[in-house]
Symmetry: C2
Subunit: 389 residues, 2 copies
């Protein structure tokens, strides 16, 4: 995330997490530009930091992003919103004290963790002071920042892309569960030193998330805190074309998606569900999502069981007309179901590896789409039956 020129980042342990692990991060844009864009959860129950950051982003401009793990600050009422506001105020004040005149409206806030509890604001505000102090020390701590936003993640997720034309994109993300439909559940900050205005960033970000995070579905649950931010410093003095920017942001988001999938809660299989031959791409996506969210498909694949009948049963619930007798299914390229009935050897397909590709051909049209998901394992149940307690 600090690969692009003009960005600093750091992560600290502010004491929000009882474990003493890193739990606060700051990303700072030194400019000369401050253009920014964001996409947010489509959940109607939105955390306070989502409400705040969506509002400040109407200006198309950000100087800093402050993030915390250890608490989502969701379902915390008006007091929770005041906490978010106070955090942005504190960041703006500390940056201004350091000599970088900043208003709270230039500070995005992201939180992740348990829903429903207020944040320990004494620790959060002290953390802000420490963060700005560390940042002022000139250390760039992209790795620490990426670690500081982890919850049930086991590894930090980062990526850097260096364009031949001498501009760069960097990013960090977190997210291991509650990863679902409209925007994979997570926090993600993407930085670039390209010269790009807020509209160009917004366009690139929306196109990229629609094809990447929106197609990652671990457990069908959509969080209250999903936030993806894209900040441009312009420090490279290179203005890429919209197509170049789109491509770079897409590649960065796609790489992060693969990292999120590989570290998802309880994952033992990295599964890609592809539906082709659908009437449209949207139909293909709907069908792939239905298969990807089916508990019986996911448990079968956890057991390396080529139980293709469960895929057919899931496909049968799509909300558009299909012809069951034309459906073909393959596992890892091996046809297990042809024209709606079992193929020879279907029960013997080896699915013991960690990567499973399920391809369904509806043979109705040209629509195609893929969803990344994982299996439903004992570890998933274990992790999620004892999270708040």
């Amino acid at each position: 995330m600090t690969a692009p020129a003009g960005f600093r980042a750091t992560g600290i342990a502010a004491g929000i997490k009882p474990s003493g692990a890193l739990d606060m991060a700051l990303v700072f844009n030194e400019g000369p530009d401050y253009a920014a864009a964001g996409v947010f959860t489509r959940n109607q129950v939105k955390a306070a930091p989502v409400l705040w950051t969506r509002q400040v982003l109407t200006t198309g401009r950000l100087r800093a992003v402050v993030l915390n793990s250890g608490g989502a600050n969701a379902c915390t009422g008006p007091e929770g919103f005041q906490d978010t506001h106070a955090t942005a105020e504190a960041v703006a004040q500390a940056l201004s004290d350091w000599g970088t005149e900043t208003g709270p409206i230039e500070v995005a806030v992201c939180s992740t963790g348990l829903i429903g509890d207020r944040l320990p604001m004494d620790k959060v505000l002290a953390g802000v002071t420490t963060l700005v102090h560390e940042l002022a020390g000139g250390l760039t701590g992209g790795e620490e920042a990426a670690r500081a936003i982890m919850t049930t993640d086991t590894v930090p997720k980062q990526v850097a892309l260096h364009h031949p034309d001498k501009w760069n994109v960097g990013a960090m993300a977190k997210g291991a569960g509650m990863l679902a439909p409209s925007l994979a559940t997570m926090l993600c900050v993407i930085t670039t030193d390209a010269v790009a205005d807020a509209a160009a960033l917004d366009s690139a970000l929306r196109k990229a998330t629609a094809r990447t995070f929106d197609r990652l579905d671990i457990d069908g649950s959509c969080s209250t805190n999903d936030t993806v931010l894209l900040l441009a410093s312009g420090a490279s003095e290179v203005r890429p074309s919209q197509a170049e920017l789109d491509d770079a942001v897409l590649r960065v988001c796609d790489d992060l998606c693969a990292q999120l999938q590989a570290d998802a809660e309880g994952v033992t299989k990295r599964i890609t569900i592809t539906v082709k031959g659908a009437p449209s791409e949207d139909d293909a996506l709907t069908a792939a999502r239905i298969v990807a969210r089916d508990s019986l498909v996911k448990t079968a694949l956890f057991g390396s069981d080529p139980n293709w009948g469960r895929v057919l049963a899931a496909v049968g619930m799509v909300p558009f007309p299909i012809e069951p007798d034309r459906i073909t299914v393959s596992f890892n390229g091996f046809p297990v179901c042809v024209n709606g009935a079992g193929a020879p050897g279907a029960r013997d397909v080896d699915l013991s590896g960690a990567d499973i590709d399920v391809t369904v051909d509806l043979q109705l049209g040209a629509g195609q789409a893929s969803i990344r998901t994982t299996d439903l394992s004992h570890a998933y149940v274990e992790e999620n039956s004892a999270y708040s307690s």
Copy 2:
């Protein structure tokens, strides 16, 4: 199921299941009436016996129902349909040989088990002969029939209702997994000795299933084989009013639903999700189903964890507008979330018992509905990761 006059039933081990357990059943209506109605899965991928039985029921008349476990005969192509047809033919022939003139179009066929494999027709056809022979012996084997349709069920499900006006309703059902949206995944045969025509039966059955089986959602997966049949012999010579018939069928279905929930795959908690204060009953049902299908809610409840934030996050995904700041949630009657924020003591609610009631009040209108579901446990994962192999 043999509580009503005019019905015989029996169950045998035909050798379809490798374990040697009971796997075929026959229900026979001795008359004098043969009115019948049925409801079927809304899955577009329909098993051969569903296609057959739906067709024969257009006559509004049934003499017999033959059922098997050990194989769903779904996704088996035209050959699978021929197998179903041959089974109905064999039952009709055997009953005719026994002196009860019956045509195949009076015989419903139901199958349950693994999707995708052909049935061993030599065993099925020999089983038909044995079934009719046992039936002719005069033994009424409702219990054996209920056992013969079990798959992952651990107990048979039966119920009998005796109306003060001297008519009766009996029923059996199976179903432990793939229990979901439009009609809980299962086979169910209901019998009555009331005098009622096919239209009256159809009306009573549709109203009852909409409020019972359609509101049981164990794992969100809808099967290819769901079938609920209602047969009336008229042997009591009592013609109940439509309201009386509706009420009796509803009560029988509701009782079976509770039995199915209590024996669902991997169940450790019997959970009822109630949504009230919705704009309409349909909206309430949609919201309750979304909560009931949320893996994070289900794993939390498996862990007896009062993680109400996950309920809010699930509710936030309903497809109609809500006001997050007005939502109230209670667990077993204890308020855990009031006006969208945590209530005092919410994290300390004791959910260690087997029954958990989750009530969400959207405070928007008068719509109310409940969904019965279960938790997502290690046993569910275990059972479903090693079913076909």
